[in-house]
Amino acid sequence: MKLMYRVLPYPSLSLILWFAWMLLSGFTAGHAVLGAILAVLLPLGTRPFWPNVPRIRNLPRLLGFVMVVLYDIVVANVSVAIKVLGPLRSIRPGFVELPLELEDDFAIALLASTISLTPGTVSADVSPDRRTLLVHGLDVDDAAALVAEIKQRYERPLKEIFEC
């Protein structure tokens, strides 16, 4: 097991790399081998560059999270498109402070990214103490509701995925 961690410090990353390689090069035996070699070597080589990356502890939850985000993206896109094309006076943008429960940097960054990816919200800043995320909403009717929705839809799953 120790050896396994020495060879594959980040199995999930290796998996992603291997999969990416297969996507790029095509699913052949030769590329499977080559991809595997790269999937081992690249994380090893770049290991010093990313210390303290949390392990994925709940893979199914991750897949669910991805599905939710993708769904939200589609829905939000449509609603934001309507706002963008409609009268601008009705838009009520606002900065909303989101208290963070996540403690891990990587998880926070993922949350911030997710928020930015869903149309209508952009994560603008993280407080120096990592306790608060500043979110800019394109049309914020109710700041508290927005915070609650984000926490429920994104932060909690992330917490589960990375921190148990």
């Binding site: 790029l24 993206i73 498109a81 963008v84 990214s113």
Partner: protein, 110 residues
């Protein structure tokens, strides 16, 4: 070409194009920087996404096998685009750019 596939590809491509345009309309039209920042997200997500789906379908059909490497474009874009947006938001807050009238909340001092 199978008409269903053709129809799907066409639809995806159009959806992609429309969302790319809508995003850019937002960029051009919205009143302050912070709201404009929301425009490109559409281009990033559904705009590129639509075309990627079209490409996936098209080439999988053409080559009679699953062609998924286009997914990587979306993957990369999903990783990188939020970083751009985040950094730009910080830049805007640093510059204390004007906010639209009626904006709630305050940007943070950088």
């Amino acid at each position: 070409m199978d008409s269903l596939i053709e129809w799907l590809v066409s639809a995806s491509v159009i959806i992609g194009g429309v969302f790319a345009l809508v995003g850019s309309i937002g960029l051009a039209r919205l009143p302050d920087f912070y709201t404009r920042l929301h425009g490109p997200t559409k281009a990033t997500t559904l705009g590129v996404g639509g075309t990627i789906v079209a490409s996936l379908l098209f080439f999988s059909w053409q080559e009679r096998g699953l062609q998924l490497h286009e997914v990587l474009i979306t993957l990369f874009l999903f990783i990188t685009a939020p970083v751009s947006a985040h950094m730009l938001a910080k830049a805007a807050m640093h510059r204390q750019l004007k906010r639209m009238k009626g904006t709630r909340g305050e940007p943070w001092k950088q």
